[in-house]
């Protein structure tokens, strides 16, 4: 189950098969995702785009194995994960997926170094803390926080907190990093800085990056863009031309379905 012992480079690292998600509120059923099929290849940088309510966060949750689909499946490196028992899934996720969230989601009672180290401590068999420590320090240094090892999240600015989150996401050298509006809470200067760091780390670590955003400029950096609307894929586009998408992407968020 080691992340790097995946089959061949040709097989997709993520495969989404007939993925559906419905929510029942009272007597009414709301379909959030209406049957999605796509794959993501190893090393690819994919942006999932859509307005608020388009289902992109739900899709991200399912891609990350944080939630169960109503139907269909998600495969990581060939392993179907959507119906794994909780603990098994948690372990697999810890080694396969690195997360970057819009609201950072650092543990407030741990220092930045401890936050970065946490995935290692949660997932390492060996418990060799020294190796982990070196890696955590190196990652924090690479995001420019070498002077902030022992600071608690509240003592850091938003941009700094997100850089700690970036370092944490890459801690275990996961084959996949999922980023949910990673710059959504930051001003443009900090946002750009974080994005550059993310792309740099992604390149350096050779990770597959899936970015969820409604921001076309952010998505423009991706090799492929998947556009969602009302739970369906309405467009896929590769390369650097995003003019068409810009026209399609609704600027004003639609009401919740």
């Amino acid at each position: 189950m080691l992340p790097h012992s995946a089959p061949s480079n040709q097989s997709p690292i993520i495969a989404v098969e007939g993925l559906r998600k419905s929510l029942r509120t009272g007597s009414t059923t709301v379909d959030i995702l209406r049957g999605l099929d796509f794959t993501i290849a190893r090393g690819e940088f994919v942006a999932i785009m859509g307005a608020s309510g388009s289902g992109k966060s739900t899709l991200l949750g399912l891609l990350a194995g944080l939630d169960n689909p109503t139907a269909g499946n998600v495969r990581w490196q060939g392993t179907a994960i959507s119906y794994l028992p909780e603990n098994e899934l948690a372990q697999l996720r810890g080694r396969t997926i690195g997360f970057v969230f819009q609201s950072y989601q650092l543990i407030p009672t741990l220092t930045s170094l401890e936050n970065v180290l946490l995935p290692y401590e949660l997932n390492s068999d060996t418990g060799g803390r020294r190796a982990g420590l070196a890696r955590a320090q190196q990652l924090l240094t690479s995001v420019g926080l070498n002077a902030r090892f022992d600071h608690y999240p509240v003592q850091l600015s938003g941009g700094e907190q997100q850089r700690v989150a970036l370092a944490r996401a890459f801690m275990l050298r996961p084959p996949i990093v999922l980023a949910d509006e990673p710059t959504g809470n930051l001003d443009s200067h900090n946002g750009e800085h974080v994005l550059n760091l993310l792309l740099e780390l992604n390149r350096a670590e050779g990770t597959t990056l899936v970015l969820v955003t409604h921001d076309p400029t952010l998505a423009a950096h991706a090799g492929r863009r998947i556009l969602l609307r009302d739970g369906e894929i309405v467009a896929q586009e590769t390369g650097e031309q995003q003019h068409n998408l810009q026209g399609i992407a609704p600027i004003v968020p639609q009401a919740e379905a």
Partner: protein, 866 residues
Amino acid sequence: MPSLSYSTAARIATRELRSSPGKFTFVLLSVAIGVAALTGVRGFSASFRSMLLLRARSIMAADIAARMSEAPTPSQQSALAKLPGLDETTVTEMLSMASSSTSLDPLLVALKAVDPAKYPFYGNVVLQPAIPLQQALTDSTVAVGDDLLLRLHLKLGDKIKLGNSTFRIAAVVTDEPDRLTGTFAAGPRILISQQALAATGLLAPGSRATRRLLFKLETTKAEPASDARVADLRNQLETILPASTISDYREANPSITRALDGATGLLSLMSLVALVLGAVGVAMAMRAHLQQRLDTIAIMKSLGAGSSQIIRIYLLQTLLLGLGGALLGLALGMGVQLTLPLFLARLLHLTPGFRLDANAALLGLGAGLLTTLLFTLPPLLDIRNVRPILILRRAVENEDSAFFTRAARHLRGSGLQLLATALILIGLAALAATVSDSRQVGLTFAIGLLIALLVLLGAAALTLWLLRLFLNTTRRQLPSTLRHGLANLYRPGNPSAALLAALGLGVMQIAAVSMVQRSIVGEMQATTAAKLPNLFLIDIASDEVAGVRALLATQPTVQGTPEIAPVVSARLTAINSIPTAELHLKHMPRRALNSLELTWPPTPSTPPPGDRVVSGQWWTAQQSAAAAQHPLVAIEHAQATRLNLRVGDHITFEAEDQAIPATVAALYEADSQHAFSRADFILPAPALRGLPVTWYGGLHCDPTATGQLRRVLYQHYPTITVIDVAATVETVRQVLLQITYVIQFLAAFSTFAGIVILASAIAGTRYRRIREVVVLKTLGATRPRIAAIFSIEFAVLGLIAALIGLLFANALARILLLRVFHFDYHLEWTWNLAALVITAALTVAAGWLASHRVLGQKPLEVLREE
């Protein structure tokens, strides 16, 4: 399987503890107060119980006494000698003639021979001058009652002649511990040593002497032997000495026994209540805490942590909190125990020997840890249901929280939760059994608690549902503040039903303890206030009765109306037509059947003062009037047991060669503190008409003036023997008063502890309010408005909880008082109403106190954290 190392788990756990000390103070305090109340009440009650039991035993001078007319046979002696850990001494009581060596005028005296080296096992013989008993009772000296000096015109140091010997009077006997339970005989008393009595030659074979064997169980500590050991010994003695009448110290004074039983039961109840309240506090606080930690848990899960790893962190945290709280509580409890004797010594003149018991400390520590662990188990297990998706959902504004709460609720019904519930019940039962020293009590308590909790939850849910119905129909008409306050009860994630049940449970327990305490204390105060007889008059002739009454009426030191009971001597000849000669008697010498004492009550249709019917029915005035033809009899319960008599049996007495066949109408218990306790058989007056009667009087005299009254009585009626038990009665009164003080103090202590715990449980809800306050403030709500909204919410919570709690408290107190403690229960409207208002007020106050800082919250601080 990769796992979080304990050091990392501990680091995260302690880091959280340090990051928000305020929140954990509630948990710590809940545990600490629960443990403090438990160790305090327990240690306290243990010390008091042993002290009070010692005093109760001093009324009999022994743990157990066996009264018999013959000396034990050699085989009985050797069987007694084989009983382990037992000390024994004999008291011989007989009537004899004494004369002054100068006057030779003989006088009937009551001799009491004791072994001064051993007698009494409990209590003290008070002598004048104050010399040791061994010095007063030698081969050549005796101690006498002051009436003997009066009658024979003697003084200390003079000589008296008993049988063949002459003795010097070494002291005057002022008080003996077993005066109330010894033989009441006519004539002044003389205390003599067994050896000296033997030398007088009075104890010839066949002489009518009563022997009382006094027994004391040997104990190592200051504490007297347990009731179980006493009961065990009693059984053995009944086998070895079948012809003797055996009584243990509990029978020596029924009102003390009753008060002690009530107090002991109440104290166990209070310990249990302290335990559960502490646990409720912990459960509420830990639930609130874990709810606050949902985000952290979700993040850790998304980073690959399994539920077990996260549970490990919070389990460690729980253990640390439980241990800390228990240690704090232990210190508090011991502090109370150490400082209280000082206060009590000054106020109540009580100096119980307090000692810090390692067992009690360990129990407190264990109870604190165990309850914390047990009650945190369900919220800990809920960690498994926290979905990592929460971190994304929060970002998308909880778009389907209803679904998730529903799913979580569904999952919560899983087997592990049931297992946890079972564990809690077993743990509680074990703790309750340890605390109350009874497995039965533990089991009953745990099951009772479960039922109470379920019913309370149901009642709380029902009330909330009804309120919501009301709210929905009247919505538009209500002022907006009130509407908002009421609507807050249904705030998503607000465990109103659980909080109501917890509050209701607390109110129920505190109120029930209060009610039981009030009833017991009320009865004891009535007993201690009553002017019980402390002087008894023996052998009043029929023609003296009117004169004695008239004389007593003129004495200012006599309080209340004296009781004068007629006594008719009779023989028992047959039971259910079987002649007594053919009866198999147990624990009753056959000879005793020839000298029974019958009496009639002062009123035709009610029992005499101090007697209480326990079986059958007392006769009516009509039945009493017809008693000459159809005599009825009421029999003292213990006597009936010895004779194996039940209501409806027929027995035949014979007095003055006249047969009186009577039907047993009732069995009664006598308090042995009234003149009528003298007789064991009560018949309606017409049944005994015409028979020779002697009279027996009991009166209450100012305890400081008994000597003077005795002299007046002697001047007018020199043949009447006066027995002064004022000192003993005063002891009884003091013990009863002390019991009431202790009960009241401990009840106040547990009530206070309970209120603090409940207040902290309410305060634990504050963390859910912060967001709400912030939103309200951003929308322009003023501080007073928010405060009003919260006050309404708290007041309604408090009122409903109090209403439900008091309802169940009354039911519980009724069952406990009537069935378990055998005291009276009365519904007290004003008290209940006051409790209702106070609970609501306290709830609002606690809520306010907790929300005070919440109200001051700056919106930005919270919004920035989002």
